[in-house]
Symmetry: C2
Subunit: 305 residues, 2 copies
């Protein structure tokens, strides 16, 4: 038994389907924009490759044999699949289809990231976005191991193989217990924080938002009174609600409406009284999905500037 299908190619299928549908080589040739003789030869060749008579030649044209009927079904099916495969691959190549693994940190899901992901899903509905909660250090490792394609974090330091792109900046607010003395004041000056215990976050890899806060204080000439260091903003605000002190948070933390916690703007704030939210990704990652995502992030940044 010869393995003839080695030389069967999609052209044969296209031609075969045309002839089967037209039941006439001449018309099929016209439809295919070629002349009749080459089409005759291609059909003969296909029959020879398969070792099967696909058509019975009648004076009125070409009529499918039983085997031909079967092959017609198969050929149509294969052609449709090829069409679909190329189309899907093209969409994947344009970043419109596939999967994007994203690393996020505990409390970054408060404001910017949900909005950004929503915008991305609207533009690329067939890209499956998978979120992985992980710390900054874990994100960097996961990026290098290609377990994620992009991470979100704050206060990212430059790295040789990773690119950092700022998504948004947030100014800082003070989370205060409702019964706290500061809460009663009409205006709170930043320098007043030196007299009150503060909750800081996050624990983990430095530099982090903790260093940011400490830096702001030292720049203003005082050392903060550290009440607690906790893992993330959510826990921090929960401790504020529990009376552990005040806490500087990015303004997106206002999404957290704990009973007994109020958010206050500060007066006389030092320069750099804001914190960035950036995304981080491999410099050598050419994935069109990542490109599409970064483009969406860029638009988001411009819109919210």
């Amino acid at each position: 038994m010869t393995r003839g299908n080695r030389n069967v190619d999609l052209r044969h299928l296209r031609y075969f389907v045309a002839v089967a549908e037209e039941e006439n080589i001449g018309r099929a040739a016209a439809r295919l924009h070629i002349s009749q003789p080459p089409l005759t030869r291609q059909i003969q060749q296909l029959e020879e490759e398969l070792g099967v008579t696909l058509f019975t030649r009648t004076p009125r044209g070409m009529e499918l044999t039983q085997a031909g009927e079967l092959f017609l079904e198969e050929a149509r099916n294969i052609r449709a699949l090829v069409e679909q495969a190329t189309e899907r691959t093209q969409r994947a190549g344009q970043g419109k289809l596939g999967r994007l693994d994203v690393g996020i940190f505990g409390s970054a899901i408060l404001d910017a990231i949900p909005k950004l992901l929503l915008a991305f899903r609207n533009r690329y509905p067939d890209v499956k976005v998978v979120l992985h909660t992980m710390t900054k250090a874990e994100q960097i490792e996961a990026l290098r191991q290609r377990r994620i394609s992009v991470g979100f974090n704050r206060m990212l330091a430059p790295l040789a193989d990773l690119e950092i792109k700022q998504v948004t900046t947030e100014t800082l607010l003070l989370a205060v217990p409702a019964e706290h003395p500061l809460a009663a004041q009409p205006v709170i000056h930043f320098a007043e924080l030196q007299d009150h215990p503060m909750v800081l976050f996050p624990t983990g890899a430095r530099p982090s938002f903790i260093d940011k806060v400490i830096g702001l204080c030292t720049d203003s000439g005082f050392q903060p009174l550290i009440s607690q260091e906790v893992g993330d903003a959510v826990t921090g605000v929960a401790l504020v609600a529990g009376g552990f002190g005040v806490c500087l948070v990015p303004d997106s933390a206002t999404t957290l409406q704990f009973p007994g916690v109020i958010y206050r703007q500060l007066a006389d704030t030092p320069p750099n009284f804001y914190v960035d939210l950036s995304c981080i990704y491999r410099k050598d990652d050419q994935s069109p999905i990542l490109a599409a995502f970064l483009d969406t992030a860029e638009r988001y940044r411009e819109e919210t500037a």
Copy 2:
């Protein structure tokens, strides 16, 4: 958006899969028994046709992009389908796969046909045999309209467009009511039938088995006493059981064991005291399935000769 897949062909898929699996163009080329440069070009061409980067070139070789991963799955799938399609079509072309529509008459299902169909199904298990019960005239029309490929009947007359092939012959027996006078005799001579009413079958297109029986009688010098004409052998034997008379039947009718009916051989039978069972099919039918069936029928005839 270019419809580039027009020129994607199966060779591209074969090459692509090899490169994707080897992750190295040189090794893939060796596996494909071609040299490296043409393979490089084919892959470039495929990427260009699709408008998608399928591989990232690294100093260690070729690595699939996300879109490439997707296309690999699709390509493997398509290649398997082509393999399957050609294989199935080849089997269909050899008569090993497909469908055979067979016309049979009411009582021919008694002996030969079940055995023959069984033999055919054993040799060609993937051919679906569909039985259609129809009269001789209906079979001929159905053959011409290609609703069936082969019919079974007795006493077929030659026709211009249809071929007749004898499958078997059966000698005749007499079905007698148990309490009939003839049943008591140790030997029944054919000529004695002139004194007893007979049930004849089948009604419908002539010439038929009825003419056969009448002809046997007239050749022996008498006119049969006709009790009833009925549609088929089953009804005929049923009437014998009801005392309507005796009935000449092909010996396969002994499959019908009605209470009160006994089958007797006759003595002094005239020549041609048998009836044929033939199959009939279109002379111009080139179907390999029909050919396979006729071959099985021929073997059956030889084995039962």
